[in-house]
Every structure is written in structure tokens, then in C-alpha cells.
Amino acid sequence: MYSTPTYTGPARLKKIVCGGNHTILVRDDGVCFGCGDNANGQLLDPSTYDGDDDDNILKGWHALNGVDNPFADIVCGWEFTVMVDHQNNVFSRGVGLKGELGLGDDLLQSNTFRKVIGLEIARKAEVKLASSFQNCAVLVNEKDVNGEYTSIVYGWGSNIKCQLFKPRVSKSVTKPVIIHSIKTRDYNKTIDYVCMGKDFMLFVNKEGRITGTRGSIPKTFHWEEDWIDEKDLIVRCMWSSIHILQKRATPEGYDKITSYGYGGFGQIFDMQGKLAHNMKVKDFNIGSEHGILVLDDDNKVACWGWGEHGNCGPPIAAEGTTSTSARTSTTRGEPASMINDAWPLNTVMPGFPTGCEVRVFGGCANTWVLVQ
């Protein structure tokens, strides 16, 4: 169900980012390694490598850059990759027919990193990238000479569901546009990150408050009514749902996850709200349609949601299962896999020794556990 490759090197691994079918390991010195689909140059220029690799698929980890050319941040979308360097230049590569590269109407595919059009970001600014499916967002935080902070979020890509702006004057946005901005004298009110689903996105500030949304958010999610007063939230999005972690939210001091959106395959965490989880969460992340937790008890890794490809671990024992999901059948009339949904939480890895740092990452029906 899972493999356990060991990485040793001069720097620690910082994160793992996943596109539709390509994956990038990011070291904390800014050196990155990629594997997977490279049919559109989303990782490397196909003309620059040889060997046993198929032209379209990089098998095994390939260095994307060197220590002399470190990346400050990098994210993946469906078939594209976006990177920012330490001079705050933003680049993209791969393919995006909805404008996901941000390179203009005439450049929808690139085998090399090309500078995204029109983003001139001051070198001293804080820059964070976010991407999902067919969109990319760049968050820029700056402090001016008067002590005022500005948060600007630029976005591009699909606007089919108005995930960038209203009205939908265009289905595709091929150059960065400002989709959200605030000015404040309070650093904690600046935007901390952008969280993106397939057709929507949310903005979360450094207090951990949700401060805005764009696009086709789940109909039951009324953030201005239900969440405006809540802070210290940790928000993650699957393609079709929003998941909010609150630390020490129960009277007993346990953590709580509240979900909104599509739950046909167990994606909604405790849909009926009847289960006592008594959990303390160390790390929390999301794949395309599944969620991943590192729990305090022995660094246990557990998943929920759609797990048809083993991404939520082995099938759950029937005992205690309270799945509310709809079972599906294939067009061939075969019963669908019983591991289509993983609910309640399914233990994927029973634990790691105290002292290990365990972090989790998710992609399209895959789960990554980083143990250092």
C-alpha cells in the first residue's frame, strides 16, 4: 500500500507539493526534486534529460534546480507548476488551457519556467503561492514607510465559477489580476494564506480568521454568519469541500474539524456530528478528495474521504463504520470498491517514536508522510 524510501541529504525536506500527476519535493534550501507527468514540461524541459525515462514521465526524483538557483516557494496545479525565486520573480511552466500559466493569451504551454506577466513584486515583500486544479494565486504582503501593511492577492486561470472575480466577463484569465486586497495597520489582519478548492478559494489572515471567499463555495458554508468571530482556524480545501480545524475546541480540550461541501465519498468529517473523536491534531492536510491527519497519540497517521486508490490506507473494518456515503457502481455493473470511502478515520500508519517530526501532504488520490 505504501513505500518507504529514505532521503538523506545536506538539507531537510520542507514540503511536498502535488499536481494532477506530478510531484515535487522541496528542500528547505530551495532545491527541488520532481517526478511524474512531464508531458507538458511541467517539471523539466524534455529536451534536457535522457536515460531510461519515458519522454512524458519522470520516474524517480530529478533535480529541478541547484543550490546556486534556489526556489523560494513552488506549487503545482493540474498540469502546471508555479515558482517564486528569492528576488520575488514569479515563474510558471507546463500547460494551462484556462490561462493557468499567467503568460498571456498566446502562451498556454511552456517547457521552461517563464516569468509570469505583469507581476512586479518588491524584493522585501513576503510572497506566498497557492494553486489548485486550474488556478494560481500569489499573496504579496508589504509594509510601507508609514507602517501600514498591504495584502494583495493576485490570481489567474479559470474563472468559470467566478473563482477570481465577478461578473464572469471571461472564463479564462491569462494574466494576473488583483482579486483581493486589504490595507491595515495591524499585522495580524494581513492575509496569511489562500486556500483553494476546485472552483473556489478562501482567504485566511494571520489571526487565523477567514476574511473572504471567491467562486462557487459550498452552499452550506456561510462564513460571514458562522465563522466571522472565530480565529486560530486552520483551513484546508479538497476539490469540492472546505475543512476547518479548531484547536482545543471541545470542553475537554480536544481538536475539532468542521466540513462543508460534497461528501458523497466520506469527505465530510463526521457528517452526522455524533462521533466523539477525542483527538489532538499535530498536522492536517488535504488531497484532491481525502484528508490526512497526524494525531498526537504516537504520531499516528489517519485519513478520511475518498480512498479508492489506497490513499486512505487499507479498507476499514466494518465494525464501527458509520459511513453515510453513497455506494456507486461502475458502468460495467461491477460493485465499486469498498474502500471508496474511508470514514470514520482510517489509521494508515500506527505511529512514530516521540521526537520524530511527522508531516503529511496529499495529491490526486495519493498521500505523503514525511518523517524526519
Binding site: 494532477g20 500527476n21 493540474w78 500547460v95 488551457l97 498566446d106 502562451l107 498556454l108 504551454q109 511552456s110 517547457n111 486544479f133 468559470i160 472564463k171 476539490w239 469540492s240 460534497y262 458523497g264 465519498f265 484532491s288 478528495e289 475518498w306 479508492e308 486508490h309 453513497a326 455506494r327 456507486t328 457502481s329 461502475t330 458502468t331 465499486a336 470498491s337 471508496n340 495529491g363 490526486c364 488520490a365 495519493n366
Partner: protein, 81 residues
């Protein structure tokens, strides 16, 4: 039968050479439905790699422009390297 999502035909990618519509699946593959099947009234696109399916939202007249494009070798959207 429960489907994963409802997707409008305008959100899908049409491949004229294959006479096929596709849309990304959360498993990493793509949902597929043939133009010919849609002309016959089919509206369920299936993923060849998993059990998920989507409802394709369209009106019969929506297919006219794609029928005219079918069989050509050109991409729906021009691609520049």
C-alpha cells in the same frame, strides 16, 4: 447511481481528433465521454482509472459546434511552446 459531480460541457475539453470530451478526475486521470454517445443522449462521463463518474450538463444544440469540429487534427485551443 451516484455521480461525483455535475460538469457543464463548456468546462470540458474537446479533442476533435478523438471526438472525445474530457475533464480532470480527482484520481489524476480524466473523465471521458464520446461525442457520438452524447449525440445518442448519453450524459455520463466515466474515468478509465477509477469508479467515479460525472454528469455532463448540455443541451443537444450545444453539440453542433463540436460536431463541426470533429475529425480535425487541430487542438481546441492553440498551444505555443
Amino acid at each position: 447511481m451516484s455521480t461525483y459531480d455535475e460538469i457543464e460541457i463548456e468546462d470540458m475539453t474537446f479533442h476533435p481528433e478523438l471526438e472525445l470530451f474530457t475533464y480532470p478526475c480527482p484520481c489524476g486521470d480524466r473523465f471521458e465521454i464520446l461525442l457520438a454517445d452524447m449525440l445518442d443522449g448519453e450524459n455520463i462521463a466515466v474515468c478509465p482509472s477509477c469508479s467515479l463518474m460525472i454528469d455532463v450538463i448540455f443541451e443537444p444544440e450545444d453539440l453542433e459546434e463540436f460536431t463541426a469540429m470533429a475529425g480535425t487534427d487541430s487542438m481546441q485551443v492553440g498551444i505555443t511552446a
